[in-house]
Point group: C2
Chain length 396, copies 2
């Protein structure tokens, strides 16, 4: 992220600290080359080797306390106003900075709900508690999850522009796949084809390359979050692909569904059409239900119950997640109230959040029907960022 | 990492669990696309989206408890014997597996000392404690830092072979830099040149590209861990470069030093030679002192005190770190007993560990003298993996 974008996000963070009445937000890290707090890129803009604290205050001050060897780099990066380099231990400088601001509430990056607000490792938490022992600050730590959810969720117009471009580029690649698909090609061949185009165009991958894209053909596929196999496309298969790119630092995440006509068929059989159309309609209904202030699980429930009402099993995951610099971004999650999702389904929707909508159902003997669209929440509803797939793509 | 290499590391982990008398080692993660436990790659070999536990027992059993949508992928990856997919919460399966083995000691990845053994985030630690509440296991968690230190530190002959190749390829790139360096080229130009060669050869970078390589020319440079600037090479400059590649999953990490002769000079001035030779000698003395069983700080002290005795300030960092799949790898660290290094300087050296030796000193008015070599610890000493630089490279 450029210096300008980091400074914009820091400025947005200051507004959020005021709004949530939190005095200080501290990102406490070390050896980010080995394990990196997901917030570092957005609100710091560089790495840290030794124990380092990056502090943003409600008053708009920023303080970096870092290993002395990294002071010159931090000055070059230019995202923090005050920089302190230490030699032997972060302890003294950390306490000096805390005593300078005397915060009543200090948000740190731990969260049982959100991985993006959970960059503080347990060992580093214990280190921090060791340094704060005997000070009033030890009892003033709170989770940064609400700050992170707001900061990552509310997209600026500039961010939305980039995300729209990312979606457009991704759908061009889906179009190429429509030309490439034919009986006899394997899931792996489709994936290689997509990866090659992506690399040629200089894009990154939105998630781990081993299943970006995921490609599923026919009734016996492995299901979501699996890598492509040597299974071959056959006539009578429903095929789908889950794919996203990383474009100028922002991710796209989309799915499309195809059907390979059998000899003599001019359109898919009834079961395929019914399954596909159920997905299309469930997405429409979910999008109509989206509105700022609603709880995220309410939206999941609209699509889930429609699918079940139409005679299919419910999908074994949430309806949609936020997208941004990470493929799985933000706080609120369009998901049922299952324990594995923590409090994320209970969070309320806000204007400017970008969500996927990605229901799924199994069409017995044919394959999986699933479409994934991206929408942005507006003042009183939502808008599709991706032109939604309404017709199943046919392969002759 | 290939399935074969993960299985080898799991097998090595079982031996270490026996040796350290730990019943079970659990890696507990989620959303590894957002933040990834550094051990996942080595002992799991794939990613996880939902809360997942990867368990290795002293008896050699492996258990993966993962989101149901990732079961097919885990079977394809093939690194774990027993795989359980859950839908709504990891809770029940987790307790069933614990009750199956009834471990007295459960190592989990948190460590105040080592980032590589500290992949458990604080939020995930709290989740784990929530699941274990009311069971006998809540009190049986220990840090995995000694397991991780042994597993990452002890290199197999196959690993050493790859690391030797990585060093050889890296030094070929350093040779090209010797040809490229001339008065008037900037640090950034040198860095671009090195990055281009690295990409053309299909290698990765050993650490963050923004300072891989780091290039420092002349007396006014920024010091270690800074990106290259537009500062230009001039006659009378001491230049050095810190660079490593990622080769077949293993990192190299080396430094070399050059001097640009002034008009009329045929060799560097006395101050430059004295500084450079002090570095060379301090590396020789440190290498001679290395032996299994010694504490890591003892080695740092040999080089540090030699440099101070020769009239220079001590270097503001440790003498050397382990190298492996990460550029900063393993447990024991050749470093002074400063608080920022935790217990790592106190750990004892073991056969098979690969360390850098990288002292540094400032030559007033000329620049920084620093060399970084890599050595592997043998039964009764150490061997250089990199042919050590003994003469300063001259640019005419």
């Amino acid at each position: 992220m450029s210096k300008q974008m980091v400074l914009e996000k820091i400025s947005q963070a200051v507004d959020i600290l005021k709004e949530q009445n939190v005095d200080m937000w501290m990102t406490f890290v070390r050896e980010t080359g080995n394990i990196k707090d997901p917030m570092m890129e957005m609100i710091v803009g560089t790495n840290a080797t030794w124990e380092s604290a990056f502090i943003i205050t409600k008053d708009g001050s920023t303080e970096a306390i870092i290993g002395s060897l990294e002071v010159a780099n931090m000055k070059t990066i230019g995202t923090y106003q005050n920089i302190r380099g230490y030699l032997k231990s972060v302890h003294d400088d950390l306490l000096q900075v805390l005593n300078k601001y005397k915060p009543q509430k200090i948000a740190v990056n731990y969260s049982q709900n959100s991985s993006l607000a959970d960059g503080l490792t347990h060992g580093m938490y214990l280190q921090l508690m060791k340094y704060l022992k005997g000070t009033p600050y030890a009892d003033r730590l709170i989770s940064s999850e609400n700050i992170v959810a707001a900061l990552r969720g509310r997209k600026s117009p500039a961010e939305l522009e980039i995300m729209k471009e990312a979606i457009k580029e991704t759908l061009l690649i889906f179009d190429k796949v429509t030309e490439f698909l034919r009986p006899g090609v394997s899931e792996q061949e489709v994936a290689e084809y997509v990866k090659n185009i992506t690399r040629e165009k200089g894009f990154g991958f939105a998630w781990e390359e081993e299943y970006c894209p995921s490609v599923f053909t026919g009734p016996d596929t492995a299901g979501a979050h699996s890598g492509p196999t040597d299974r071959k496309v056959q006539r009578g298969h429903v095929i789908n692909m889950d794919f996203g790119i990383n474009y100028k630092g922002y991710c796209s995440d989309l799915q499309r569904t195809w059907y390979v006509l059998r000899e003599g068929e001019s359109k898919p059989p009834y079961e395929v059409m019914h399954g596909f159309n159920t997905i299309v309609k469930s997405i429409e209904l979910a999008a109509e239900a989206i509105k700022p202030g609603k709880q995220a699980f309410e939206i999941d429930d609209v699509a889930r119950s429609y699918i079940v009402k139409n005679g299919y099993n419910e999908y074994p995951h949430g309806l949609g997640h936020q997208v941004g610099r990470a493929a799985h971004d933000g706080g609120a999650l369009l998901a049922p109230k299952w324990e594995r999702y923590g409090n994320l389904p209970y969070m309320r929707l806000e204007e400017g959040q970008v969500f996927t909508i990605e229901p799924r159902l199994t069409i017995e003997n044919y394959g999986i029907a699933t479409i994934e669209e991206e929408v942005v929440i507006t003042k009183d509803g939502c808008e599709f960022l991706s032109p939604p797939q309404k017709e199943i793509y046919l392969i002759k």
